[in-house]
Every structure is written in C-alpha cells, then in structure tokens.
C-alpha cells in the first residue's frame, strides 16, 4: 500500500515505547509480527474465533487480528515475549503450562497463556466455571483443555504460595 496512506502509531510494547509507520487499518497482529518481529503472537483464523493472536491491550485480552493498529495508538501492549519479568525466567503461568502438559503443538499456547494470565488477574481464585469461560475464546485442538485447566489451577496455587511466603 502506498506510503502516503501510512500514519505514525505510538505503542508501548512489552514495556518499551515504539513508533511504527503503518496503514491505519493494518491489523495489530501484522504490525507485531512483521514490523516489530514479535512472532510469538500467532494467526490461526484471522476472524477472531481461535484466539491464537491474543495479546493484552491495556490489560485487556484482545484478538490482535481484529484490531486496526490505529485503535491501539498510545496503548500498552503485552505479548508472550513480554510476559516474564526477567530474562530467562518463566511467568508462573508459563511454568505451569510447561509442567502440567498445557502445551502440545504450541501454536495456541502464547494466546492461551495470555488468556490464563488475564483470567487470573480478574479472578485470582477462579472456579472451574470461571476458568472455562475465561478461556472460551481460545481454541486448542490438541489437549482437550484438561491439562490447560490443570495448569491454570496450579499457577494459581503457585501464585498464592508466593504471596503467602512474601
């Protein structure tokens, strides 16, 4: 597309401020993957059904395939690459997915992990029904979700253990 149509969009991605030049209707997904080389965010369907492209936008879980980048102007975005606090360390949810078999083929995993993080922020002590509805926008074809539910429950327990020891 002609450069004249492009606009400057300011994004705070994984804690770092950045400015991208993009078509205003470019999908946030493409800007993340192509312009910022953050390929951990995946495209599964391009129509907002599968959730593989989920990112956190100002703390809210969104499908980045449905979001025109202009709408993300000045927003703070967290992708899977920005989830852990320190390089080489895993977030409690990532660790729980690893330990409890929450990831199989891995293509839904970045989106699913972010959905689980978002869920635990809203419901620090979720019921099974809350876990199920919290992950309902993220499809997984490998696991049948059971190991993912288990990972979320274990991440919660781990989080609680950390809190009580602090």
């Amino acid at each position: 597309m002609a450069d004249s149509l492009h606009v400057e969009v300011r994004l705070r991605v994984n804690g770092r401020d950045t400015v991208v030049r993009a078509h205003p209707m470019a999908r946030l997904l493409d800007v993340l993957r192509q312009d910022l080389h953050l390929t951990g965010t995946k495209e599964g369907c391009g129509e907002g059904e599968c959730g593989a492209c989920s990112v956190l936008l100002n703390g809210e879980l969104v499908n980045s395939c449905l979001l025109p980048v202009l709408q993300a102007d000045a927003a703070s975005i967290t992708t899977i690459e920005g989830l852990s606090q320190a390089a080489g360390e895993l977030h409690a949810v990532q660790q729980a997915f690893l330990t409890h078999g929450g990831a199989q083929c891995g293509i839904c995993t970045p989106g699913m992990v972010l959905a689980a993080v978002s869920l635990l922020e809203r419901h620090p002590n979720p019921t099974e029904a809350e876990i199920r509805s919290g992950l309902a926008g993220n499809l997984c074809r490998c696991t049948g979700y059971m190991r993912i539910f288990e990972a979320v429950l274990q991440a919660r327990r781990r989080g609680q253990a950390l809190e009580s020891s602090a």
């Binding site: 390929t39 995993t109 979700y145 190991r147």
Partner: protein
C-alpha cells in the same frame, strides 16, 4: 522378558526416565513464544505465493484470464505448462496433478500459482484471475459414484476394494439356532482436522540447482520423494526441513507434498524464496478431510446371544483423487469387526471417487468410521435381544488364541472384560442408568449413559512396516552429547520428549544430555512417516536399539565400563571420539518374530499388536432444543507401557475432545462439491465450555516389541467416542442415531419423524 533385559542396560544409580512426566523437550520454547513455525520465518528477497483454484467441481479449462489494472509483469505466474512432465504428486496411484491441466476434477482444485513480494498485492491479483471452465457433470455422493451414471475416475469410480471372508456367512441365516438377523445402515460425515496452524511451506532454489523446503509437515520424506520425482533431481539436491508444526492429526501427512511442489515451482521460476501459507478459509476449503462413510451391517445372533455371522458393506468417499484412500480403506476394513469373535465374516469394502477435494489421512484413518457403525450396531442388537449391552459384549469379546476376520491369531492376552468392568465402575454406569430411568420422565433435559468397546492396531497395516524398513541413528559427540537422528516429527504429541527419555534410559545419561536433531532430510535417516500411532512404539524402539549399539561400541572399545555415571559416560565419549573418530550407530526395523502378512490374500497379522479400550459417555439431551451435551467421560485403555503419563493422558484427552466434535458438532456442509462452511465461525469445534471432565485410566501390559513395552496410542481415542455418545443418545431418546454428527437439527428430525409421518 524384554522388560527385564532392558532394565539390565541401566546403570543402577540412574533413575529410570521412562514412566516419569519429565518436562516437554521443546516446551520452554513453546510457552515463551520462541518456537519458530513456518510463518514466523522471513528469508531475504522472499516472495509470497497464492493459489488460484477451480470455481466448479468438474469441467474443461477453456482459458485463464488475467484481469486489468495489475502489473502482471511483476508477478511470477505458474500454470500446468510450467510443471515438468509427468505433472503428478507421487503417492499411491500417482493420479493427482500438481496443477490442473485441461480438466478440473474437484472444486478448489489448484490451477494457477502467483507470487509477488507484496503480500496484499498478490492477494488482490488472486482475485483478478478468472478461470473459464466448461462444466462437466460431477458426482456428489457415494450413491452417485456407485450408480456410475457419470464416471469421474477410472472405469467405475472405484479407487480400491477389499473382500474379507471367513467361514460361510450365507448359510448362517437359515440355521435353526439363529434367533436374530438385523440389517442396518450407518453414515459418518467428513471432518476437518483443524490444526490451529494452517498449512504452509517456504521453498527456495539452491545454487546447485536443487530445492530446499521448510514447512509445517508430518512426513519429511514423503515431501522429499514427491519433489525428487517431480523435478527429476537426485535425492541429495532436495532438502526438506520440518519447522515447528502447529498440529497435524493426519492433515499434514500427504497434503504438504502438494503445497511444497507449488512453492518449489514458484521459487524455481522466480529465482527467489517463496512462502506459501494458507489462510484458514483456504485451508478448510481446499485441503483433505476425514472420509465420509456408509456402512451396511447384517448380523446373525444365536439364542444364547452369541455372534454367528457378520456381513458388512463398508464404503468410503475418497473425493476426486486417490491419495491415501486404499490404506484408509484397509484400516477401516480390518477394524470393522471390532473386538469380537465372529465365526463367519464377510467384509466388502470400497473406496469411491466423487467430485470433492480428495479426502485423506485423519487420526484413526478409517477405523472411526467402521467402528462407529459396529459399536452402534452392537447396542441395537443387544436392545433387540433384550440383553444388557455390557452382557451382550461380554459373551462375544475376542480372546487370546482366537482368530480375527483377516486370520490373525490373537497371541497376546486380551482382557476386554476387565477394561469394561473398570470403565463401568469408574463411570458409575449401572447406578446412573437406573437413576436416570427414574428421573427422565419428569425432566425436559434427559440423561443417558452409553459406552463402546474397541481396539486400534498400532503401526502400519499389514506388511507396511516391513516395506518402510525405517532407520534411526544415534550418535555421541566428543562432549558426550547424545544426538538422536530420525525423520519422525514433533507435532505436539511429544516425539522429542519420549525419544529423549528412551535414549537417556538406554544410555544411562541425563535427559538434558540428549539432543533430538531437527528433522531435515539432509541430516537424518528415513524413520518413516509420523502417522499410524507408530512413532513411540516402532520408531522409539529403534531409538532404544541404536542407543544400545552406541553403548556396546563404547564398551567394546574399552572406553566405557559398567557401572558408570553420566559424567564418566561423557569422558568415555571424549576418549572414544579422540581415538576412533565419530561414533554413530543405526538401527533398522525388523518385524517381530512370527508376524506375517500376505498382501495377495489380504490375510495374516494385520498389526504387530493392538491397543484395547472401553469408553463411557454420560450425556444430557434437551428435548426442547435437541442439543446434546456430554456431561462426563471415562476412557479406559490398555496401551502397553506408558512412557510419559502426562503426555499419554494428553493424547487421550485431546483425542476424546476431537471425537466429541466428530460425534456432535463438526458438520462439513457440502454445496456443489465445495465445503460451504469453511470458517471457524460456522464449522464448530469444541471449546473449553463444551467438553466434560475426561477421566483417563491406563492398564499397562508391556508389549515385548515396542519401545520399553509401549504400544501405539495417538489414534485410539478417536475410535470409540462417537459410538459411546450415540449409544447414550439412543438410550435417552429411543431413536436409532445411525448418523453422525448428531447435531440438534439432525436429532430434531429423527425425534419428530414419527409424529410428522
């Protein structure tokens, strides 16, 4: 015992890794988003490819029109004229062209390929190409294919047929002791694999005139063979590399050969790398699905409820080209009689041609279709005989020493009674049947219980494994790293992890000392395709034996002495490599002793071994909305040794989930040979809200010729879920439930039929 002798390889101070749920080998890369899938890779100068497809199911191509307003000279354009002769994707029959030439045989058949550096522009160009086609009559159903009014393939629209006979089916009906003869027809629909990562490859020409392809695929050597043949290149000039693969389920078994050929044609013509990645709609509308099927079953049972004769007519719809239909048909045929002893059997099986895109490999591979029919039929027979369905099955389970329909003597212990007991107990089956019978009359939402008992043969069917003659290499480096070289791919099921466990145990080293080399035909031997529940059982065994040869070489040359520790093992590797050079050993598949299959007679040991299972479904049917929910699910199976409990449980749970979709939700709607609902919006797979608790139980009976005693596991859970659910729905509603998926619309029609009629 194999198991004991294997244990003796171990150093006494090393814990066994087999049986432990160690962390997934590539798990860290996956949970952090660092794992690289094909669409995550961009090569310098890379173009984006697209495919222009046939708008009609069948016809003569009259012309290809490139619309106005696009800079066509900037595009790389490939048609059938650019394809080296013969224009074929090699597989079984070699009937499928790379690109349609003169005639199209199915809707969405590829005709033109385009590539351009601008991804948006190439998509615009795809829409600007018009293919002028004079339509020809098409075939849209199994019935139309068999009637033969229009011939779309060969002489008679039949890709392959089998006839299995044992005893004398025809004389049984008239015998005095025959109490019941029942004749019913069953149907199953197509199913989309729906891996969350769509199909894709990147192809590039190499300086020496060769081709390198990286892609999302299950079988690197299938793609290698297809490209070597198509381009007439020597094997070493074609390199196929498997990238991290976001699910396969069979869908990335044979189809990647076609998409790789397309990308390679574009890359060779353009002289630049070409990425060809499908979007979801294209993937759903154009790639393979599970074969739709129709099964007619006629049975005869004696007064004691013992099965006397089985007569099956099993038909699968293969779509427009043969692809893997003959082997899908074969597995479906051999599994059709189920886990029962039949004194008299006839199975007539046919794979027919229609005008849809070719159907292909999908977890279960023909068995889910024929077992749905049989397990539904078992319940209908039991109800007609007024016998409890469990008691009826118990009278007829096949036992050790008995012979299957294709003449396989069951040499290993088979204990279906025990599996069924455990499943019925775990699900509280009998108490719930009683309770629901009391509560249902007063409730709009009615509850029911159903189960299925079944088996799945592990590894390639018949002489398949002997023909494959798979090879695995294991090598050690001077640093004491153990490298496993195999073409078996990690597609989510856990190949990397279990191979690491098996190699580490065989050599007495730590898990992290083992490296699984990325499947790359330039680097790894051909350990066969990643299909047929064979990776752990068959290829894993080769990993063990190759690793054991490495250890034997170290000991023979005096570099290693038992007992040893991982640290002294490393020293031994360094010593060996310094003195003798690289240490690498191969292991090639040898059939287990006494296992024989006769291809000509279609008779013998169809599989080295079987996994056995009993699954129970608890369902609710809303009699106002006709929606069915599965409320609880119990899966009990005997799968040999469980190598990794978390991975094995995940395989069963994922398979059960996919099969619940097959039973209730996943409905491919065909319109003029084309999938009309090629979107996740209206092709419905189960979400986290739709699935019940899935309780998984394993019986472990080590198989002497599988890796550390393992049998195949991946496909098994696909086979028994749909009939268990259908049996439960039938119990609740009193309807026949002879077709899946049982959508609310289908169930409404069936439940209201007597009132309307």
């Amino acid at each position: 015992m194999f198991f004991t002798s294997f244990t003796s390889f171990m150093s006494p101070d090393m814990p066994r890794l087999v049986g432990q749920s160690v962390p997934r080998k590539e798990g860290r890369a996956k949970v952090t988003g660092q794992a690289l899938y094909v669409d995550d890779v961009t090569l310098p100068g890379m173009l984006h490819g697209v495919t222009v497809r046939s708008p009609v199911p069948r016809g003569h191509i009259r012309g290809i029109h490139f619309g106005d307003g696009l800079p066509w000279d900037e595009f790389t354009i490939v048609t059938a004229r650019d394809v080296p002769a013969p224009n074929r994707v090699v597989l079984i029959m070699d009937d499928q062209p790379c690109l349609a030439d003169e005639i199209v045989n199915h809707a969405e058949e590829p005709v033109v390929l385009l590539a351009h550096a601008d991804k948006m522009l190439v998509e615009k160009a795809r829409r600007a190409v018009t293919i002028d086609i004079d339509p020809l009559p098409a075939v849209h159903s199994i019935d139309e294919a068999l009637e033969g009014g229009t011939i779309v393939w060969g002489q008679d629209n039949i890709f392959k047929s089998f006839l299995v006979t044992r005893g004398d089916v025809d004389s049984v009906r008239d015998r005095d002791d025959i109490h019941l003869v029942l004749d019913i027809e069953y149907e199953t629909g197509a199913q989309e694999q729906l891996y969350i990562e769509p199909q894709g490859v990147i192809a590039e020409s190499t300086a020496d005139g060769g081709i390198t392809v990286r892609g999302s695929l299950q079988c690197p050597y299938y793609v290698h063979k297809a490209l070597v043949t198509l381009f007439g290149l020597p094997g070493h000039k074609v390199r196929v590399v498997q990238m991290e693969t976001g699910g396969g389920f069979g869908g990335k078994e044979e189809y990647p050969s076609l998409i790789a050929a397309h990308a390679a044609l574009l890359a060779r013509k353009a002289g630049r790398p070409v990425k060809l990645v499908y979007d979801r709609a294209e993937d759903m509308v154009a790639t393979t699905k599970r074969h739709p099927s129709r099964t007619c079953i006629r049975t005869a049972v004696d007064r004691d409820g013992r099965l006397q004769a089985l007569d099956i007519d099993f038909i699968i719809d293969g779509g427009a080209y043969c692809t893997l239909s003959p082997v899908v048909l074969s597995r479906g045929t051999i599994h059709a009689p189920g886990p029962y002893f039949w004194p008299n059997v006839r199975v007539r099986a046919r794979a027919v041609a229609t005008s849809t895109p070719p159907h292909g490999a999908f977890r279960g591979f023909g068995a889910p279709q024929s077992l749905f029919a049989l397990e539904r039929h078992m319940d209908i027979m039991a109800a007609t005989l007024e016998l409890p369905p469990d008691e009826f099955r118990r009278r007829n389970f096949i036992k050790q020493g008995q012979t299957s329909a294709v003449g396989q003597v069951m040499r290993e212990p088979v204990d279906m009674d025990q599996l069924l007991d455990r499943a019925l107990t775990a699900s509280d089956y009998h108490a719930k049947v009683k309770r629901f019978a009391e509560s249902n009359p007063h409730s709009r939402v009615k509850k029911g219980m159903g189960f299925a008992t079944f088996m799945h043969g592990a590894g390639f069917t018949g002489s398949g494994e002997e023909h494959l003659a798979s090879v695995v290499d294991v090598e050690v480096t001077a640093e004491g790293r153990v490298r496993v070289l195999a073409a078996s791919t990690e597609i989510g099921q856990g190949t990397n992890t279990i191979f690491s466990q098996l190699a580490a145990d065989a050599l007495g080293v730590e898990l992290d000392d083992v490296e699984i080399v990325q499947p790359d035909t330039a680097a790894v031997p051909d350990s066969g395709p990643t299909v047929a529940s064979r990776t752990c059982m068959v290829v894993g065994r080769l990993v063990e034996t190759a690793a054991t040869s490495v250890k034997a070489a170290l000991i023979e040359q005096g570099a290693l002495r038992e007992p040893y520790t991982p640290a002294t093992f490393k020293d031994a590797c360094a010593r060996y490599v310094a003195e003798h050079g690289p240490l690498r050993r191969s292991s090639r598949y040898q059939p287990p002793p006494g296992v024989h299959w006769n291809d000509e007679k279609y008779e013998g040991d169809a599989y080295g071994t079987y996994a056995w299972a009993a699954y129970v479904a608890e369902v609710s049917v809303d009699t106002t909305t006709f929606e069915t929910r599965v409320d609880d699910f119990v899966a009990v199976q005997e799968v040999g040794t469980v190598i990794h409990p978390v991975l094995a449980t995940g395989q069963i749970e994922g398979g059960v989930a996919q099969a619940i979709g097959y039973a209730l939700y996943e409905n491919v709607v065909w319109r003029d040979g084309r999938m009309a609902n090629a979107q996740m919006t209206n092709y419905i797979m189960p979400t986290s809200m739709d699935l019940p608790r899935i309780q998984v139980f394993f019986e472990e009976r080590p198989y002497a010729y599988g890796a550390s005693g393992a049998k195949g596991i991946g496909e098994l859970p696909m086979d028994g879920v749909a009939p268990a659910i259908a049996n439960a729905i039938a119990q609740v509603t009193g309807t026949m439930v002879c077709r899946i998926p049982v959508t609310p619309e289908a169930l409404m029609e069936e439940m209201l039929a007597p009132i309307d009629g």
